[in-house]
């Protein structure tokens, strides 16, 4: 049962988010270079780190699926990637807002982390058209897992390549996200990171529970010999 523990998890997430937001706006000191704009980091960077780890986790689930052939791992992989993509949209939009506030442009190529995130996002955005183009359910699950593994391996490589491409003349714009953070900022950052990570786990569990519920409905229908009318438009991964 996927819903077990979901309530506790949500409460923990809300508490953590409330704590983090309070720290961001009432505790963390104002940064000298960027001023108030720097507060965006506490949202943008945790979202980015969580999304990236989420993609790699999706790849790990995919490996489990390929090795055990248990369909539930495929569903886990699908949902992990799904939530990470949504977080990814948040990363790109908050990144653009930050760029506009700092540099006056809605996009900057000078920030390697943002650029490599864009590329990773572009790759994972192809996950859905790729997945739904395969009609056979077994094959769809298997190929999607191969995709997730390949894409998971791609993430670190891509970051390396983009980082290398940065000319050493351009200053790293996200300098504050590197080491050298004063203690109070570091504490705030870590709380935000924990909150966003908890949020990711909660949403994944939430979506798996919903999928499971749909799966139980289908199971009931089958047991009663009462198939649904006009269903089965896309063969999405199921959980039951």
């Amino acid at each position: 049962m996927y819903g077990k523990g979901l309530k506790t998890l949500s409460i923990a997430t809300v508490a953590m988010l409330a704590l983090s937001l309070s720290l961001v706006f009432f505790y963390a000191p104002l940064e000298t270079d960027q001023g108030f704009i720097q507060k965006i980091f506490y949202l943008h960077v945790p979202l980015a780190m969580t999304a990236l780890v989420g993609f790699v986790v999706g790849g790990v689930f995919a490996i489990a699926h390929l090795r055990t052939n248990n369909r539930k791992w495929d569903a886990y992989s699908y949902v992990a990637i799904h939530i990470s993509i949504i977080f990814g949209v948040g990363v790109l939009i908050t990144g653009a807002i930050w760029a506009k506030a700092s540099w006056g442009h809605w996009w900057v190529w000078e920030e390697p982390t943002l650029v490599s995130f864009l590329i990773v996002f572009l790759l994972y955005a192809t996950y859905y058209p790729f997945r739904y183009a395969i009609e056979d359910r077994d094959r769809q699950a298997r190929y999607a897992s191969v995709f997730a593994v390949t894409a998971g391996a791609f993430v670190p490589l891509n970051f390396l390549a983009v980082r290398m491409a940065q000319s050493l003349v351009h200053p790293r714009v996200f300098a504050t996200s590197e080491g050298g953070l004063p203690g109070s900022m570091l504490l705030t950052f870590l709380c935000c990171l924990a909150a966003i990570a908890l949020l990711w786990v909660t949403l994944v569990k939430f979506e798996l529970t919903a999928k499971s519920a749909s799966g139980q409905v289908k199971r009931l229908r089958r047991a009663l010999d009462a198939p649904a009318a006009g269903s089965g438009s896309r063969i999405a991964p199921e959980v039951s």
Binding site: L43, K100, A210, V217, L220, R221, A226
Partner: protein, 67 residues
């Protein structure tokens, strides 16, 4: 909180809009997600009620037959 002299940052009332914008985007994404899940929940509720009706009908038929 006064900004240090010479800081290239935007004035607070300007910067505030961007920071608010970023956090608003976060909230909006979250709520949109909740909305999508709500739609799924609605569908599940509808199907469950259909199934409940079917099960009740079957029970009636069975009671009639055995009566």
């Amino acid at each position: 909180m006064p900004l240090p002299l010479g800081a290239p940052a935007l004035p607070l009332h300007e910067a505030g809009k961007y920071v608010a914008g970023a956090y608003i985007v976060f909230v909006v994404l979250l709520v949109v997600y909740v909305g999508i899940m709500a739609a799924k929940l609605q569908r599940i509720e509808r199907e469950m009620s259909e199934i409940a009706t079917i099960a009740e009908q079957r029970k009636e038929e069975k009671d009639e037959v055995s009566a």
